[in-house]
């Protein structure tokens, strides 16, 4: 049972465009939602994260939008660059009870072409 559903599976964006990746969850006990970036041959690295009491968080070109009532959240990459080409995973965690067990989406392979 996939606790976090992620779409699309793959995404191709032109340089300078906006990349949007969507995720949805069911478990209302989740209270922290990180996004990870993974390059080939590397482990996932934390990109940006949000708590459910915040509707939006922005760090540079990366923005998370969070809709608690819909149990959905999304990652927006503004002015996408070829160096952003990687696999992106959304994740969810219940910090109180599971102490760090991450539930990942299936991932989105982003390709930004010049």
């Amino acid at each position: 049972q996939q606790q976090v559903k992620q779409s699309p599976q793959s995404l191709i964006v032109q340089k300078g465009g906006i990349s949007i990746i969507n995720c949805a969850y069911e478990n209302t006990a989740f209270d922290y939602f990180p996004w990870y970036q993974q390059f080939p041959g590397k482990g996932p690295a934390l990109l940006i994260a949000i708590r459910p009491d915040v509707s939006e968080k922005k760090e540079g070109r990366f923005t998370i939008s969070f809709n608690k009532s819909a149990k959905q959240f999304s990652l927006h990459i503004m002015d996408s660059q070829p160096g952003d080409s990687a696999t992106y995973f959304c994740a969810a965690v219940n910090r109180g009870s599971t102490l760090g067990r991450l539930y990942f989406g299936r991932g989105t392979q982003l390709t930004v072409w010049p």
Binding site: V4, Q6, Y32, P34, Y36, G41, K42, G43, P44, A45, L46, A49, F89, A91, V93, R95, G96, T98, L99, G100, R101, L102, Y103, F104, G105, R106, G107
Partner: protein, 114 residues
């Protein structure tokens, strides 16, 4: 700071064999989690070790076992290998299990079962 290190990088085994993967956590971290990432999928939680004991376990059979040493390093053992065990095995470490902290992932060990 070397970050999270894992060995070996790649491993090829045949069905029925046993394998041991190793992880050294980031300096100052005492909690180690293991994840399995099948091709094209998000990482799936296997188990977490703290104070040399397994504290949490995901939905994996008993063929998967682990160990944590006094220096916080950890091993993942898989017995009676199946073709479906072929995956990237990721180790993640974090400090202070008392409260949630960001997990840092290693580069992983690519296991191929023939």
């Amino acid at each position: 700071d070397a970050g999270v290190t894992q060995s070996p990088t790649h491993l090829i085994k045949t069905r029925g064999q046993q394998v041991t993967l190793r992880c050294s956590p980031k300096s100052g971290h005492d909690t180690v989690s293991w994840y399995q990432q099948a091709l094209g999928q998000g990482p799936q939680f296997i188990f977490q070790y703290y104070e040399e004991e397994e504290r949490q376990r995901g939905n994996f059979p008993d063929r998967f076992s682990g160990h944590q040493f006094p220096n916080y390093s950890s091993e993942l053992n898989v017995n009676a290998l199946l073709l479906g065990d072929s995956a990237l095995y990721l180790c993640a470490s974090s400090p202070d299990r008392v409260r949630y902290n960001e997990q840092f992932f290693g580069p992983g060990t690519r296991l191929t079962v023939l």
